[in-house]
Structures are given as structure tokens and as C-alpha cells.
Symmetry: C2
Subunit: 404 residues, 2 copies
Amino acid sequence: MSRSRTDAEALDRSDPLAFARERFSLPEGVVYLDGNSLGALPSSLPERMDRVLRDEWGARLAGSWSAGTWFEGPTRVGDKIARLIGAHPGEVVACDTTTIALTKVLLAALDLRPDKSVLLTTSSNFPTDLYAGSGVAHLVDRVVLRVVEPDDLTDALAREDVAVLFLTHVDYRTGAMFDMASLSAAAHEAGALAVWDLCHSAGAVELDCEGAGADMALGCGYKYLNGGPGAPAFLYVRREHQDRATNRLPGWIGHADPFSFALDFRAAPGIAAFVTSSPPVLGLTALEAGLDAFSGVELRALREKSVQLGELFLEGVLEAAGDHVEVASPLEPGRRGSQVSLRHPDAPGVIAELARRGIVGDFRPPDICRFGLAPLYLTYAGVHAAAAEVADVVSSGASVISEG
Amino acid sequence: MSRSRTDAEALDRSDPLAFARERFSLPEGVVYLDGNSLGALPSSLPERMDRVLRDEWGARLAGSWSAGTWFEGPTRVGDKIARLIGAHPGEVVACDTTTIALTKVLLAALDLRPDKSVLLTTSSNFPTDLYAGSGVAHLVDRVVLRVVEPDDLTDALAREDVAVLFLTHVDYRTGAMFDMASLSAAAHEAGALAVWDLCHSAGAVELDCEGAGADMALGCGYKYLNGGPGAPAFLYVRREHQDRATNRLPGWIGHADPFSFALDFRAAPGIAAFVTSSPPVLGLTALEAGLDAFSGVELRALREKSVQLGELFLEGVLEAAGDHVEVASPLEPGRRGSQVSLRHPDAPGVIAELARRGIVGDFRPPDICRFGLAPLYLTYAGVHAAAAEVADVVSSGASVISEG
């Protein structure tokens, strides 16, 4: 029997992450299950941003470049991300956008496998990943992009021409999560490198890039990291690759000595070479506020709460309305990211009606209702209530406004 | 005889751009001649940013993507830049960073000259431009980067293998300004395209990309456009090239229908295809505030004031201390951007002593003191006072603190 609201409230009282909720500003009366699209506003940010604008920029002007904290932003923020993805300090930088970061790591990974030609991924990957892969294949003569069905990955890795396997760790539609360790191992077995897109994992899943054998990775700052709309992205290059990995989109900030204004490029040591341009200070300010909201939060506790929220949500929906909806996500929690997706013939209508009731999810074609479960700021009571509303909408037909 | 403070104050009283100064927040007691490094804070921005953070992001959350103004940011802001560079609406987008924008336009321009192989530029170009050019040459097998001395440009264009001439319009060290129209024409004559880096021109020089025959262009948002530290860059692709020009670093936001989540990339029509990733909303908010400070400002008046500020500054320095300093900038105003540079054996010491006196310029190796003249917020009286301090420092030896 599904748990009651009282049960959910008891879970909130014993939630070891309850302290984190007040670090975010969320509108009253809303259960926000779209943090996998855009994370919530860190409460500390408006004041921090105002200080950066008025004091660092307005009052100290260009002096803040030489005397302040701006230049170190990409590596300082990168180090804060490193902890959340199971990487070491000095392995991550925050800069550029997700697609540019992916382009950089794909180009760098290809360099490390000069005798092989194939970029391998699945048709389930997020479209921009496919576009970036295709873009790289067009740019670099020897490279081709091979897109296979997820079930065919093992066979596809059996071929000897694969240079780089690149996958999105958690599927943006279904929330299905790849096993990073076993697929990275399979890639290595095949002589390929493993590149992981962590857009839908970082900040909500217990990640271990080091232990799972990821060679390179990237992700966005604006989902579970709560870095704001269009936040800077991040990229990860494993230490052991850094000596040979090259940023193929180089720029002066990745130079070993930018202010020598030398005519020839000489890469900065380590991950810093992957920074191309002047740090986007305002975007990094927001992203850093989002990351600071993870202070004192253990990844294991984060994942545990995420799983429990998912179980509570599914239980509530399925027991009350299991005949009216199909679960698109894996039912086994270990194979699911921090998101539950349902299929419904009128998915846009369901999402619209839920929004009217203060439950915010989103729609993805053709028939997917997505519900992201950000463990840092959601409550069990909120997710419990959301499940009840979802069950009511799908079973009562209240959704069918798009035919109304 | 050089003009007096009273003369300068009279110029301020009749300055047709005087109304723009209050659109910026500048520290008291400072003459800020470093706007060619980082522009000033638009007064409207702190409140605008707070609204974006609290209302658009915090309260409306991901709903602001579907119902708000975020997605149109790159083209809306691009159109505001278009007016300042002599381009049409629909020819400019604001996104990415300067070096990524340059990489995109170089790759796109090379596509349009598939039978030629050379990227041509000068050794006086800003280093990141050289690094980007070198990066492109490494990426694309057929392409080589050729770097010549500025005086050898005409000869270099006589060779038939030049695909793209790319230059920075105003030299970051000396402020020397290339003639965009004649060099673009020379490039076309040679069968090449002309790509212009407008980092040190946009917002301070009267630009006419259309009339001067620029094929593509790019620039940063954080100098004379006052978009803030690490602001988004912009890029321009002339309308007549847009049908055939390709963004070689494609991403989902440049897709014709991003929310179809199609597996294959199909470019959006026009300049929108050059947007790769989700717009950096906070960075664009700042940049747009900077651009809105140009409202009602005619480019001709902007340029006229910039020239007058330069003349006043040079006159003040040279008449009082002409024996103690060498002018690195062209003396002819028509060949100078919005900056005056002086050579001095102790340039860092001069800049440091001036900063102590509230005159902010900057140093560039080996011996250059740079003084940027942002016509939107500088006063004649301020520049007059700055010239007097410069003259005093270089002639009195007060600078030689680095040997003290």
C-alpha cells in the first residue's frame, strides 16, 4: 500500500539533507519537478551578484582582473564540480557551453587514438551530442560518427575502429542510466576512450569518474548544479591524459603565460589549457552559488534521497493510476537517474493541467511527461502530493485539454 | 598652445553625448581610461539583473524558457549590436566567447573558399586571434596559417592561395586602425574573404561592415560595449553569405526546430544557425544593459567625440612632456581607433603611479602605456586632467617606482 502524507512528512523530518532546502528560493505553492531542465535559484545569489556587479565590476573595474578572483574562476569552480563527479582537483574546468565543451573533449579524445576513426554513440543520446559528434566528424577528415541503438552497443564496440565511445550517462527522456564503469571498461577493452556527458547526472547521482574509468567528461551547469539559465558548462580530463590531451579550440586564457602576449601558443599545464577565453564572470558567479549550496552534502546521501523520492513518486502514481499510464523509466532504482518519466497519449495536456495545479514537470516528444527529482531542495511531502496529482490527472481525464 | 581646463569644461557643456554619462556607474575621483580592457558598469544593470534572478529565474523557473525572452537573447542582442557595427538586423548574434566566435567565422569563411588554403593575418594581431587561426589550421587539413608583418599585407594578398584575410580592425597595443574598406576590397580582388575582429572598435569607432565590404566579423562584449567581465561575444555573417555559410561547431539551439529533438542536424535559417548552445542569459542581460546605454547615440557623434578626446589628450601630453615620451599611436586621427598609447621605458611604473593619482590606464609589454577613450562616459575635463597627470609623471620621473 502506498505511503501516506504522514509517512512522507516523517521522511522529511528525518531527511539528512533537509538543511539544504533553505539554500534555494522557490515559489510558494509549487512542487518543482523540472530541476532537470533548469535548477532552482540559490538564495545567496542575488546578493552575491549585486556585490560582483557594484563592487568588483563597478568600483574596481578592470583592476578586478589583476587583483581579484576572476581569472581563477574556471579552475576554482571546476574544483568544486570535481567533488560532485568523483574527480580530483585540477581535473575539471568550468567554461564555454555544453556543446562547445563536448566538442573540445571529443577532439581531444580523438587525438589520443590517432589510428582509429569512429566516434561511437547511441541514437538515444541528447540531440546536441549527436550534432556535436557530427560536427567533429565533418571537421576532422579521418573521423566518422557511428550512431547505434543502445542495445547494440556491445556489438558496436567489438569492431576495432572505435576511437571514442561517447554517451550521455542519464537519458534525458527516460532517465535510464548507463553503467559508467562497465561501459568504460568495455570501451577500454576495445582500445577506445570513454567520454561521458553528465548533464543529467551531476548534482543528483553519485558519480565516480575516477573509479568508473571515465577518460573525459562534460556537463552543463544549469540543471542539478543550479547554475542558472545558460550557465557555463564544465569539462573533465583525467589526470593521466592531461599531458597528451590538447585543446583543439585554443585561446589566450589557456596559454601558459597569457600576459606575455606571445605570438605562438604554448599550452598552460594541466586542465587550464582547456580554458579558451576570458571567464564568463557573471555566469560563473551564479554557478558557484549553486555549487556552494552543496556544501556539507555527501554524494551518497544525495543519491539515496533521489532514489527514495523516485520510489515514493512511482508508488504513489502506480498504485492510484497504474492502468492509465506507462512508466518510461527503469523501475529498478539502480538503473534510473534522478528523474521519473511517464508515457501518456496526451503528455502535453497532462503537463499543462499539472502546472495549473502547481506541479511543474515538462513534456518531451512524442509522449513523455518528465519529472525531475532534485534531492537538494525537494521534500518528500511535496513529491507525495505531486504523485497524487499526477495520478488524479491521468486517471480522471482532466488532462485532455489539448482536445478540448 | 594646449587647451585649458576651462576649454575642456566648455567642450563638456556642448557635448551632444553628455546625456549618456549618467547611464554608467563610475567610481568617484577616477578618470577611467581602461574601457578598452573592461567597460564601465551600466547603471541600470544591478536592478535588471536582480529582476532576472528573482522574477525570471527564481519565480518562473524553467517556464521562462518557453514563455519569456530568453531564447531570443542571442538574436535580439545581436540586432542591437548590428546597429553599432553597420550591419542589418539578422546579421549578428551574441553568444559564446570571442575566440570561439572567431573560430566559427574562420571555419565558415574557409568553407566558402574551398579551393584555397591560406588564412592570412598579421603578427600585430591580438594573440588569441593567432591562436585561433593556428587552431583552425591544425583542425582542417587543407588549411595553413600565414602570419606576415602589417607592411607586407599587400604583397601577401598578391598570392593566389589566400582563402581568408582576417585582421583586428584596431591594434590592441597601438590603437592603429586598418582601413576596413580598402583591405576588404584588396582581399576580394585576390579572391579571398575578409574577416574582421572588432574587439577594439565596436562601440567607439564608426563602423560600417556593410559598406566596407566585411564578409564576416566578430568581437567581444566587454570593452566599449560595456557588457561586463567575460561578456558573450558577437559574430556577424553578411546576409549574402548566410545561405552557404555553415556553423561548423553546431548545437541544438542552432537547429531549425530544437524542440523536435531530431537526430539529424538541420540548420536554422539565417544567422540563428550560428548559435550553438543555450543562451547565457545572465551574461546577455548585462550585455544588453550595456547596449541599451547606446540608445539615442549616433555613431558619427560617438566617433567625433572619441577623436576629440584623443586630440585633447595627445595635445596635453605632448605640449607639456613631449620630450619624455614616444607616441605609439598614429598621430593622424583617421588612422587611430579610440585609444592613445605611449611608449615609456618604465611603462608599468607610469601606469602604477597614475593609478595612485586616480588615472586608470594599463600596461602592455614591452613598454606600452594604453589609454582607452570611451566616448560614452568620459568627459573632456577628465581627459584633460588625465593628460596633465601623465605629462607630470613622465617628465618628473615620479614613475620610476619599479627601480625604487
